[in-house]
Symmetry: C3
Subunit: 230 residues, 3 copies
């Protein structure tokens, strides 16, 4: 590779994994009733969210799975999940924190996925695709394992749009010769901001959304009303 | 490889991806009520159906994912999904067209999967397995992401049988020295015809099927109490 | 590799695949009512459980999928599934046999996954992770395809704990220079015993468990009526 900057530094990767682990555990802790998870279940979900994006990225790129080449990824994900679980009571009311974390995690995973794909020589469109899959893959795995409707399909389409926009900005900027670090920062920013704006926007039409949600909730009878994250 | 014919021509691959995208979008457009998908959701499902077979095939073969090596695959899948969505109103009553497309897509993906597996040196049985997974994988992903019962398990067993029969014909013919192109055409034909016959057969007992379906819906009610294993 | 013992002998691998196939088919045969599966469905589930662990292991390790390199794996899985199905009536009351088989299968897949990961140079923590994923992966695929709540999250957390404990024992013993065969036997034993103890323990609180299950069943009540296409 002519461009060694494409190598994601370990600390940055671990930050994304850790934030994902915290966010996943906070999400999983939010369920009550029949879907309530025990400590181990919450830890598993936190780990899945923290590790999922990187695993899916490397499977799609058919490369060695980076997240399994060092003890640190799993240790970070599990410890982050435990922290998220312990602090869940405290964070519960800090809904904004969860949403903010979530937006940042999507942005980071999207940027890492797109960068690595470009570094491996993928064309622009599939590179963006890999970025989007990295960004939303952890959440899809989480929903499938928890037996929830896949958020991205039902309420969270903007997830995918936010991830795609950021990944596209990164890939296009890179194609025009912008240094990768700058392109990546731009990509993360675009994804995070779009995602946050989407949430803030939604706040202006909460009734419709809530009604929709409640309807789903009532008729799927009790997939619990997630007040949390997405 | 002594037999360069094993290389699937790009245009043929794109035809399969495109037909899959149209078919997936038509399927996803058909839902109303709580499961109604927005434009983006329909596009995602179309893309998943169009791309899924090839991705699963290459993951199982542990080779570079062909569908991510060129911009055309994703562009074709997305454009096909948009076309499918736009024409959904028109096609809605052309149920036969959807069924026919579906049968053809299964046949194509099954043949491509089996051919590629044989070309990479897999024995006959796993080559057929890869063909079946390529053929039905997109549909399984679609159902899991949409939160539907996986069609292949409940109403669509014949899906798997049709795909397996076509893949087997291809693999056996190839083992007997039939040129691959001829073997592939035979395989696609067998799968498509079996699938169409299965549907036509079903038409003679629509009531039972419909009853069955409704019952499933009502009584899936009870995720049964597993007295069994775990 | 200095340690050729890391190569899992074909017969041992096939024993694990076969036991998984029998166990999966017994599980799938146990459903009545709307979730009742036909012969083909039971065979598919048996095959998925028998093959799933090995497939997931090799995907995570980014190596050639061993289970697709010989006809024997699939033939064994399918034949085992058929045997399991035919004997289901006989075994139905031998609940202990199913549970025992299940515990043994988890132990074997966990040990094979961890061993192979160590042999490929993965550090201890991810090697244990690969072992756990091999052990529980077949069951997760089974539940997702059958549309059941993923057992590992709801009633079967101890699945993961048992698999992790056995994999950890194997990996630590290996790190301390214990020959792999001995380490693997220790690992399989630990997993199997923990799993069996967990089941025996559960027997002392069956009411709560049953109540819990029934509640889930009642309230997931209505997966809405799909009138649509497929």
């Amino acid at each position: 590779m002519a461009e060694p900057l494409f190598v994601i530094p370990l600390w940055a990767d671990l930050v994304a994994v850790g934030l994902g682990g915290v966010q996943g555990a906070l999400f999983a802790s939010g369920f009550t009733g029949q879907r309530r998870l025990d400590l181990l279940g919450v830890t598993i979900i936190g780990t899945v969210v923290g590790m999922g994006g990187g695993l899916i990225r490397d499977l799609l790129l058919n490369t060695t799975l980076t997240t399994l080449q060092s003890n640190w990824y799993l240790l970070t994900a599990v410890m982050a999940a435990l922290v998220g679980m312990l602090l869940a009571g405290l964070f519960q009311r800090l809904n904004r924190l969860i949403v903010g974390l979530d937006a940042l995690v999507i942005g980071l995973f999207g940027a890492f996925g797109t960068s690595k794909a470009l570094a491996l020589g993928l064309p622009l469109v599939p590179a963006v695709f890999v970025g989007v899959c990295s960004a939303v893959g952890g959440g899809i795995l989480r929903d499938v394992i928890m037996g929830l409707p896949v958020a991205i399909m039902h309420v969270g389409s903007l997830y995918a749009v936010a991830a795609a926009a950021g990944s596209l900005v990164l890939a296009v900027a890179h194609a025009f010769g912008v240094p990768l670090l700058a392109a990546a920062i731009a990509g993360v920013t675009v994804t995070t901001v779009i995602r946050l704006l989407a949430v803030i926007f939604d706040i202006s039409l909460p009734e419709q959304r809530r009604l929709y949600r409640r309807k789903v909730a009532v008729e799927t009878s009790a997939i619990p009303i997630v007040t949390g994250t997405e």
